[in-house]
Symmetry: C2
Amino acid sequence: MFSWINVRYLEKVLFLATKNPIQALNREEFIPNLSYDSVIFGFNGKQLKILILQYHNTGLFALPGGFVKRNESLDNAVKRGVKERTGLDQVYLEQFRTFGSLTRSDPSAMKRVLEGNNLDVEAHDWLLDRFISVSYYALINYDEVAPVPDELSDSIDWYPIDGLPDLMMDHKKIVDQALQFLRDNLEKKLVGINLLPSKFTMKQLQEVYEAILGEELRRTTFQRRILGMNILERHEKLFQGKAHKAPYLYSFKSNNAIKSQEEQIIT
Amino acid sequence: MFSWINVRYLEKVLFLATKNPIQALNREEFIPNLSYDSVIFGFNGKQLKILILQYHNTGLFALPGGFVKRNESLDNAVKRGVKERTGLDQVYLEQFRTFGSLTRSDPSAMKRVLEGNNLDVEAHDWLLDRFISVSYYALINYDEVAPVPDELSDSIDWYPIDGLPDLMMDHKKIVDQALQFLRDNLEKKLVGINLLPSKFTMKQLQEVYEAILGEELRRTTFQRRILGMNILERHEKLFQGKAHKAPYLYSFKSNNAIKSQEEQIIT
């Protein structure tokens, strides 16, 4: 009969076996030559940040990415990856571009990643081949996330968009295009809401816009435009001591942001 | 010594050998499980149309698409396909979405296409596998194009967007999303310009906008907004008989539309 400790031990062994990279990256399981990369944005109240992982024993920094299993949809592969990294499964996720140049793959860097993880390079040579990558961006509420490194990586950490380490392959370009896409969609889709808790002040919302656009906005103009869009519901005041100065809390009227996500990602 | 006729004959044999679908769809030459589809828009002065091909002996209608060679970039694969179908190589081309659901592929339809072309199904079984498809839309000047069917197809023809035949697989959904993407980008990128000759009247431009948006616009409002954007250069009048009523011709100021294309498609 198993003691509780034995059960925990068994669970751990099974967990490690499941997480074994050699098993996890079995070439038969995945569609070859196709990967995804995710630009996961969070906002800490001041700065727009993204999640960057560092591979074991290589000094290489990269976007969290992965491969598509033969029996899962592209969108589900990305949802799975984001959930594994952030623990969140209700995430605003939108595909923005597929990168397919001949020069984007970097076999020597991938070889370093394999060697840094003590993996047999020959057994994983399909990873040294050319990859076309479908890129997604995700917007998450910074406070709800405890990033988890994957089995190949030392760490996964938040970096401010203006203070990124050197990224491998074309990942800097992917980040730049994600940011451009986010800016282009800020008005149309109100995506900024997804970076905030469900109730927020007008000042917090303005700070999100400013962080994404990289510029300061006039408070009165911003407030007039946002309220004119008739998308916010006003709640109680946020009391912080000085009651007469307490700002109102707002929420997004209907769950349009998530709705627009569902439309987007069912492909 | 070859007579001129012999040379022409030899050229024809070589051409047919190159065009032989068995050779053209050699599995070794292409990235597996990945295809592209193109939604090629044209405007005949009244309606927005797209190019649809019909496969030999199947009754199946589809978007022009194809596969990516191992030694060419994704963008170049699509450019090659559009050039083969339309003869044009300066085309406004933009990637808009990658479709990756598990249910999108239709092996039975692909089998009919192979059989309809008297091709060995077993030798082409990689085509019956799952495909993730990167979709692009193209905007071309209708008058400059003489569509050419590919080797698997009977015909390629223009169909108005509100009068499409039943399309195979998820191609109707791809068309719908392309149209939505085009509408969303109409203001931001002025893409409509690409559907017109280099010089056009304000009325022609308005008709393009109306065809894309599927609604009538007020002439005075439209003209004020477009001229207010300060993007058009005014040329001589288009004389058609009644000189005092002749409309001005306009062109796009700098080649921004093509520039924005170059930015977009270098991935």
